[in-house]
Subunit: 146 residues, 2 copies
């Protein structure tokens, strides 16, 4: 590993305990913040966008102190950040590393494409079943108005 | 300056060229990102929230690479981050330091409190004149419907 690389990798500081979400597509970093409801989080968050990456063109990274996510919470970000990896940190050490997975059901964050759908016209949230995880095909669980 | 303090201050990494927005109230960091339209910015952004601060209880910081803001752009954040300081960095050196100032006019980012106001009912943006900068009193420049 050359010095330049080390310098770049150190650009977003370490956390003592918490979760690192790495390899987020750069354009999705602030969407991930929103989906995980971190805008009002009261402990430390460190974030970097458009960082150099070995695997991808550019990546974003989010480090959340003292926060550990349940699988169903974190998998919501798979739609905007399918490449994301989760790293659980305890006492500055990596204790777990995993990929996000597209969940079986998706609630609220996806809109129905049918403008007449009840979810676009009344205060009813969408609920989709994922019927194809590779091509990301979804089926709405609430009947539309038409 | 003790070692613990140095460690904390170094937590969000340096940028070579660009703007550092420091002393943002922690709860306003993501609002500042939105107001400055940085969600889709294609160069590096580093951000930290809930950092220790000498002056305030907790602070946020945003570092934007290769971006220099005009006064009228940056002063929009004064409403959510009146304590913010702007630091212009060139070649890793501080070349300018200033405070945000409440602008004379505020467009779009403030909603009219009158629910019948045309700006809340049609696709018309608000435009306020700031009539008192200390108590932040605003006057709408567009007549309301009532």
């Amino acid at each position: 590993m050359d010095k330049e690389l080390i310098r770049k990798e150190l650009k977003v500081s370490a956390i003592e305990n918490g979760t690192v979400i790495d390899h987020i597509p750069s354009g999705s970093v602030f969407q991930v913040i929103k989906i995980l409801n971190l805008e009002g989080y009261d402990d430390q968050i460190f974030l970097g966008t458009n960082l150099e990456s070995h695997k991808y063109a550019k990546k974003g990274i989010i480090k959340v102190s003292n926060r550990f996510f349940r699988a169903d919470e974190i998998n919501k970000i798979a739609l905007v950040a399918p490449t994301a990896t989760l790293i659980v940190i305890k006492n500055f050490q990596v204790v777990e590393k995993k990929k996000v997975e597209i969940p079986d059901r998706i609630e609220k964050i996806v809109k129905c494409f049918n403008p007449n759908c009840i979810t676009n016209n009344e205060a009813i949230s969408t609920r989709f079943t994922v019927i194809d995880k590779n091509e990301l095909k979804l089926r709405l669980l609430i009947k539309s108005l038409t």
